[in-house]
Symmetry: C2
Subunit: 482 residues, 2 copies
């Protein structure tokens, strides 16, 4: 499509209700968050998408540092022999590894994996670096990309290469490792809920669904608008699984050689997919203000009229000075109507319209993207008013998402109910703890166990397993998932 | 070596004068900037090294955005067919490419290159994205790692994988592309000189030394303490070389299809190597305050005496509140003498010693790492005094490096002088512009042309080529190089 056409008409987005999947694709491409790459299963993160990632990085990284972590960078290539040391882990990842077999003109003697995750190489170095209890804990993180040779891919949700962070820590005691695992899950939840406006269920994964090589995996699970679950972050406690395989030992205070306890945790650009599928609507994106690359856009109305351009520029300065992320859209090649649609599509939380009549009345007309409503605010103290409004919008988006999720999360007590509920939301059910029942539920409804809430006492869903009817052990969320 | 030994003795560093190369290796390993990876030619950037990189990123990224650039992320794998489109480029990079030939259990039909640089994939997407003059310029940058299968590697200077940024821009006119090329060279020089305290020569590379596929390459060249040159950043003008190969055309204002003019520019973790080899001394690193992860370390002297610990903590708060990067070293497992050596090794610009006598006198004893001198400062307004001192140290390190470089940069008028001067510095000479003479100089002295200063008139070095004696065309720096 020629650019000139695009500037005259706002392109059609498939309605969410008609085809959620096509709606998603339309939105990510038309907002220029990303594009398909000329490489199988990979995407290009374009400026608007990358700016969201930078905001996520900034918020996460600050909290990682506040909780005592340091950033590092480890090589992207991992020799096959290192990958093979922990049996469960290699079994989980080997089918997804991209292999480098040639360097320059030389055929390599040993294949090198493009990292699918970096436990194996962190372990190798930890074994070298740690000597005594004084060296512990070591709490490292890296921001990088990883590669998993996926068959079915979707931008931001599942791509062969994706951007993420991976924390890897080693500790002297099991208690410290468990505390770390839960602390980082808590950091993820806090950022998800307070910054991305994503309500999440946090809890422990089943044995079947846990990370390859972990003793315990915890996740946060968000509900998308089609009722499916998106695993939005994970935190793993490895116990001594890896330290035994990689021989990471330290001299404890009593002088005895002891294996370290290890954790890892990660979030990825998948979070951008979660934002889109949680908050988006028929007009396109709705970005939570704290993560929006542009928080407010200023549109001059009848810019040729005296004072309008100057007023818009003054407004821009004022909002910028207050620390807001502002864009003045002074394009004269497109109509105001086009601009309205364009910025609504891009999900900018607040649009400020400034025309001659507004100026006469000393006000600004404001469009709230969260409610698609117009309000009028006085020009006086406008930066303060807009900042306050952005906070309201942030909260409103969270509230809407939480109401949606809570309404679609239902306690179920038998398998038919479960089958019904997972068509459009999460089923909360009692479960016997056996994989056989997870397999039945997967087979019949294509739904999986998501996680077990920490508060297992709060809301019992009965005494017997939703699937087999035997004595139940756990409260578990089940859902279809991305 | 057991950790306990390490904590009792400060390890020996090879003297610079004895073996500069071994000194470098000792310093980078003992300061824990990095470690060798269990992957051929790769390194691990440890927390202290990565924190320097984060400072460099922050300073660079801020300036990229101020000059209108946006960050993006492109895939790390590039199909061989894309790489092959620009002949000079592929010839330059093919011998250094690591190839992915297998994905999961599947043998790939087409090999995928782990990016050695990303012109080819940026070009492919630019061809898709650009339609009319309204879309121009596009000014993108990405922070990532690249892979070049190098034979001889040294941490930070030349490794198979390294971290860098690569800017890629397209423009409507040759003038705009040239302006961009020089603007970014200017940004690099400004950061190098004002933040990293590295005086650099900026100028144009010869045809022989330019980037594969560029019409013109510009570089900044820093002098290391062994007199060798380190190319510390490059900026390339491609003209329409790539846009013709990748068919990147736009409709200009007159409605005519026209090829875009393209640039690219990059700096890497090599800059960390430059900092080490420019400022380091017999005691280890000396970090410029603006890039130092820790700007001041506080050491309690006789911490058991009343008031010392409290005073140190108060001092820490005060300095932190002033925005300084501070560490309070309250380890009680090592001696004060050990700590002195440890922080001098790590190159922390300012050490504050606080003991009972200092407190009595209302002062702090301060050690300046740049001059290895002690001064005494009143506790009153200490944060302001330390901030001022850090500025002085920043300037002093630059001045020292510049004096060193200027002293070892010599105008030469014949080939024997050139051969002599490049043993310990840069030779500034007239050159005929022919590659044959560069080849002779390389052959005889293992020195290469570095760059041609922009001010070719300022300081003529004669009328005839330093090598062949024919009519000279250009002033050129020659040096041995990393």
């Amino acid at each position: 499509m020629a650019k000139q056409n695009k500037q005259e008409f706002v392109t059609h987005i498939t309605p969410r209700s008609e085809d959620f999947s096509q709606w998603y694709t339309d939105v990510i491409l038309q907002t220029e968050l990303c594009d398909y790459a000329p490489v199988r299963g990979c995407m290009i993160v374009r400026p608007y998408g990358y700016a969201i990632w930078e905001r996520i990085q900034e918020e996460m990284d600050k909290r990682f540092k506040e909780t005592g972590h340091q950033n590092v960078y480890f090589p992207m290539l991992i020799p096959e022999s290192l990958l093979l040391k922990e049996a469960e882990h290699v079994e989980g990842f080997a089918p997804e590894v991209a292999w480098v077999t040639q360097g320059g003109t030389e055929k390599l003697q040993e294949r090198l994996a493009v990292r699918p995750t970096s436990e194996t190489i962190f372990c190798t170095m930890y074994a070298k670096w740690v000597q005594t209890w004084r060296d512990l804990p070591m709490k490292y993180n890296q921001w990088c990309s990883v590669m998993r040779w996926e068959k079915a891919t979707r931008p931001f949700l599942r791509t062969s290469e994706f951007l993420w962070q991976e924390g890897h820590t080693i500790h002297a005691t099991p208690e410290e490792a468990q505390e770390e695992t839960l602390t980082m899950l808590g950091v993820y939840q806090e950022v998800a809920e307070n910054i991305l406006a994503l309500p999440v269920y946090v809890g422990q994964k089943s044995e079947k669904e846990k990370f390859a090589g972990a003793r315990a995996t915890y996740s946060m699970e968000a509900m998308m608008q089609d009722g499916k679950a998106l695993q939005a972050g994970t935190s793993h406690n490895f116990g001594t699984n890896f330290s035994e395989a990689y021989d990471i030992q330290f001299q404890n205070k009593e002088g005895k050689l002891t294996y370290v306890h290890e954790t890892s945790w990660g979030v990825s650009t998948r979070l951008i997919g979660a934002i889109i599928m949680t908050h988006g609507d028929e007009r396109g994106l709705r970005l939570p203000p704290k993560v929006a690359p542009i928080q407010c856009v200023i549109l001059p109305i009848a810019a040729h009229k005296p004072g309008v351009t100057e007023a818009c520029e003054k407004l821009e300065q004022e909002l910028k000075a207050a620390g807001l992320r502002v864009k003045l859209d002074d394009r004269d090649t497109v109509s105001a109507g086009f601009k309205f649609n364009d910025w609504e599509l891009k999900g900018v939380p607040v649009r400020l319209e400034v025309g001659p009549r507004d100026l006469e009345n000393g006000v600004v007309t404001i469009f709230r993207r969260d409610l698609c409503e117009k309000v009028t605010l006085p020009l006086e103290n406008i930066a303060e008013s807009v900042a306050k409004l952005l906070d309201e919008i942030q909260q409103e988006l969270f509230n809407q998402a939480k109401a949606f999720r809570d309404e679609r999360t239902k306690v179920v007590t038998n398998i038919d109910e479960l089958g019904e509920v997972v068509q459009s939301g999460f089923a909360k059910a009692m479960w016997c703890g056996e994989q056989a029942c997870e397999d039945v539920i997967k087979e019949r409804f294509n739904a999986t166990s998501r996680n077990m809430p920490f508060d297992q006492e709060g809301e019992k869903c009965g005494e017997t397993c939703v699937c087999c009817g035997k004595q139940a052990k756990k409260v578990m969320y089940f859902a279809k998932a991305y």
